[in-house]
């Protein structure tokens, strides 16, 4: 079989298998798969350099289906390369199958979960940055995008950033099939409109007929030539290509074909072709950064420092000890103190500008290649990337996030800059770890622990200076807590700024003969149920105080830990919308300060 025939046959096989898989499942997106089958056939046969037998080969190309609903095509491609058997293909969307409705990394050839649109390209930017600046390997990052998802702002963040960084190892293949879920896209087949946007962002563009195998071949070859700019291949295609009943017709999104047998016949029937993608050079090794022997920063008890500043010092020191640590920030590195890392390790620092989705996506991309990525911005602005964090958990990504400027305690900047929902948001991420230090030494220890944590970990830091209360060698296990003051009358639970307020409240109470136990709940998730239960048994009840809305934060973490050990709890949190003011004024107004804590404690003991 000559190459042209082989590719044409392979493309038809991918279509047939996409139809078969979705028909077997009774759901799925065959028509969205069929539009990109020719593109994938040519990519697999001679362009993609991916050793499917060794998916961990550091020199492998990466292939991300940003249009994750084209999973039937992706799985059919995995079958065509021999990675998945036909039997397994037909388990698509079954309970327990690796072939989920949208791709996830339970399959070793899938880097990241997709299915929330507009995420593949910004994650590809992260991988491409890793290839250029960290691994320093010539792998390419191929991202198959849908045209509907080009409306997502995150795609434009990616275009902008890749253009700025001149990532010519990044190639977007846009499957312009003209039809979205409900109807035509904004731009239909107007490839020039996509080209103008991408070119404006500094990309090279190639417009092709996405069903013309020769045009695809020359576009891919051209894209591989690099040239200092990322490349967008804009391919005009037909949704449902190859089956007249559905081709280029609205109304067939996300539905198995009504007449699958006829469709398969129209596509030329079953085939069992195998294609062997190129493999990368076997000996290529990722770059290793030099390391030093910096100790972790240490602070004297009784001095004052903001935990955000301790974060900066901690990651800078970690970066010296470990060559795999990288950091990035959303253009506020002089607020988050990520600048301390940048100044010490410029090669491993990434300025992501004010584009929080791209910030998180870059970290996700880099951790695919094993880099230990810390990403920081104001905690309030991490909410901009919440969907990326949610999806990162499904990607089984190891991600270290730092959000600064927590709560009303930031003071004058006002509510737009105050994170008051971050604990709730990050607790409700699968498998997450949520940490909230109250002093500089604790911050350093927690940051060091984060480097070795799996999953999504989140560190909440504060704007203002707070006293150092722990010695530098104190240990803070994840899932632990500290009893910073013992007492058996009542228990006060805080973290961050409210831990210090709780300590002051205990002083107030002590003058009245009430001995309060004070618990520093620095690990909000996982939470130290044992210490909380002990406190519940040994004291009259618990007062929780948090610089956060009442929902989903520290207080409810405590309540959940005590759900089956009923205990009187008084939960203090921020109830009214704050304005500007001095931190102490706002803590007082919110009734999460020492006075308010002491008052609730008195209620419990009386």
């Amino acid at each position: 079989m000559d190459q042209a025939t082989f590719r044409s046959e392979l493309a038809q096989q991918l279509r047939v298998d996409s139809v078969r898989a979705s028909t077997a499942a009774g759901s799925g997106h065959p028509t969205s798969s069929m539009s990109a089958a020719d593109l994938m056939a040519v990519l697999l046969d001679g362009h993609l350099r991916l050793d499917f037998d060794h998916p961990d080969n550091p020199a492998n190309d990466h292939l991300i289906f940003s249009k994750g609903h084209a999973s039937p095509l992706q799985y059919s491609a995995f079958k065509a390369v021999g990675a998945v058997e036909d039997d397994e293909l037909l388990t698509f969307r079954e309970f327990g199958s690796r072939l989920e409705g949208h791709p996830t990394p339970v399959l070793p050839w899938v880097d990241v979960a997709t299915g929330s649109l507009g995420q593949g390209l910004p994650i590809g930017v992260g991988l491409a940055l890793a290839g250029k600046r960290l691994d320093r390997l010539p792998y390419r990052v191929w991202v198959l995008c849908g045209d509907s998802e080009m409306a997502e702002g995150s795609v434009w963040e990616a275009l902008e950033h890749a253009g700025h960084e001149q990532l010519d190892n990044l190639i977007a293949i846009v499957d312009v099939n003209r039809l979205g879920q409900t109807g035509p896209t904004m731009h239909g087949w107007d490839l020039a409109s996509y080209a103008a946007r991408a070119q404006a962002a500094g990309w090279r563009t190639i417009e092709i007929d996405g069903h013309d195998l020769e045009e695809i071949e020359s576009a891919l070859a051209d894209a591989e030539s690099g040239g200092g700019r990322p490349v967008a291949i804009l391919a005009a295609t037909q949704k449902g290509k190859g089956v007249a009943e559905v081709a280029d017709k609205p109304g067939f999104h996300g539905k198995p074909l009504a007449h699958a047998e006829e469709a398969i016949a129209e596509l030329g029937g079953l085939r069992d072709l195998r294609v062997k993608p190129a493999t990368p050079d076997g000996d290529a090794k990722p770059h290793v950064f030099d390391t030093g022997s910096s100790g972790l920063p240490a602070f004297e008890v009784g001095t004052e420092l903001a935990t955000r500043k301790a974060y900066g010092q901690a990651i800078a020191a970690l970066g010296d000890r470990r060559g795999d640590v990288v950091a990035m920030d959303g253009e506020v590195s002089n607020s988050t103190f990520a600048e301390l890392f940048r100044d010490q390790h410029p090669d491993r620092y990434f300025e992501m500008y004010i584009a929080e989705q791209q910030l998180i996506a870059a970290a996700v991309g880099m951790q695919v290649r094993g880099w230990c990525a810390f990403a920081s911005t104001f905690a309030a602005f991490l909410s901009r990337a919440y969907d990326f964090v949610r999806m990162a958990a499904i990607s089984r990504a190891d991600l270290r996030l730092m959000g600064s400027h927590a709560g009303v305690a930031i003071g004058e900047d006002g509510p737009s800059q105050m994170a008051l929902e971050d604990l709730a948001a990050f607790r409700a991420v699968h498998g997450s770890t949520v940490l909230y230090p109250c002093d500089a030494n604790q911050t350093v220890q927690l940051v060091a622990a984060m480097a070795d944590l799996r999953g999504i970990s989140y560190l909440r830091t504060s704007r203002g200076a707070m006293p150092v209360i722990y010695p530098p060698d104190e240990e803070f296990p994840i899932g632990g807590s500290k009893v910073v003051r013992d007492g058996s009358d009542v228990t006060l639970v805080g973290a961050g700024v409210t831990l210090h307020e709780a300590r002051k409240a205990a002083d107030l109470l002590s003058h009245e003969g009430i001995e309060a136990r004070v618990i520093d709940l620095y690990s909000v998730k996982p939470v130290d149920s044992e210490s909380l239960r002990r406190a519940a048994r040994e004291t009259a009840g618990l007062v929780t105080a948090e610089d956060h809305w009442p929902e989903g934060g520290l207080g409810e973490a405590v309540l959940s830990a005590l759900a089956d050990q009923p205990t009187p709890v008084r939960k203090l949190a921020v109830h009214e919308l704050p304005g500007s003011g001095k931190p102490a004024e706002l803590l007082g107004q919110a009734r999460i300060d020492a006075t308010a804590i002491a008052e609730k404690a008195r209620e419990l003991v009386s």
Copy 2:
């Protein structure tokens, strides 16, 4: 004083007052204000048509400071027009002052809170859409943007959407001062790079020297001429313009000037000029849509329907009864059934494509003008716009959101499409209402109630059909719950799909002689504490079951309601990352089905 001198003097006054306000506060962003002072002076003097004495005049222009940190400039402008006195100006950032660190609608001339960058332009798109298609009034929407924030994907969603909708009543003024918070922006003073991007999206662009009053005048006049396309004025400016110590120098972002007195002298000292902006035609009235007398849809008990479908029918009927109801969707209207509204009220339906930030921002913009906006997409994808929802609460916006496809019960599509964090995220929004119906009639009643609710309300709907259990005339007050089965041994609490599982569990338990009370907690926030407390008193304890991660959802809402009335609670929720499968398989795997609920109930009564 001739016009040129007046404008020049006015601009200097705005600079001086920006310096004075931030110096008085001891914080704030004077240099970011000074760059845009000339632009504002010319806008105020002859272009903006805004009756500051009657901020509710429907014909008023709208002015949004998307770069909200330039609040000193905005407040100085309010002083210059006589809306704010000098005394009040100097309360900037003080506790209790209306002049918060970043602008909020506590000031009647501020439409929306800003300070999270990249939000002003997409909200402006919503206002401009309202002007063109709803109010049908010739007001203009002016948005002052920073250059740093152009990196936000949400800005590109706005450019894309405004271009697509040909919103020539929208004018973006981009203050290209070249310097971000930490250093130079990506594009510096390369106005052409911004112009290429905006033009690619269908905008008309005008490049000017942002300190040349004549260039500004002609740019604003040109922009006002309309021409079928939105206009971006790209103004090259100097951050800190007018004070040599800081002008065009890095390192002065967000800091009051070190030598304020000298700076004020350099700017020519204090002035007390007043400018009177033009006022719009007094008689212009917003368009009123015809209404009909449709009853709300009603469903027969015992039939089955998905709550998402009931939502679509409900808003379509509401739209007939009320001319102020509008709806929009993120290109999934055949999944959310917003298409039922679209088909019946095409004039009041907005297709926002796959751009969830723009989707929410459009609704925020429209509600500024009093439109009752419902926005829908998959609940999982609302997480894409979480920062916009957070900020909408600070904007005191009335916003109705519907998220479909909740939880593992969606089945085969897999975790990327499953909202499992939405209850936590929306509960942790200030002043929010979180509703989760289990049947079609309940959905209709709750949707009708949402139309009259203040603040952010969120309706969680389900993909699959569920039995109708309530008659059409049943009432469902916000903050209420329903005891759908009485019993005094144990209480089962569910909502949505788990309510039906709880009912089945009660049947199972009844065969064993255990009489379970079943509570439908359709109002997750505010929650019906009274009914929960009564159940706690009258039964052995509560089992909660939710199709959601364990954190921040229905279970913790119940625990919070019972915090000071200690009660044994068993909380069932989704703990492991689901894959694909049939809904029943996934509910069983997650252990939130009838079997699991019954098991926990037995523990409580034993």
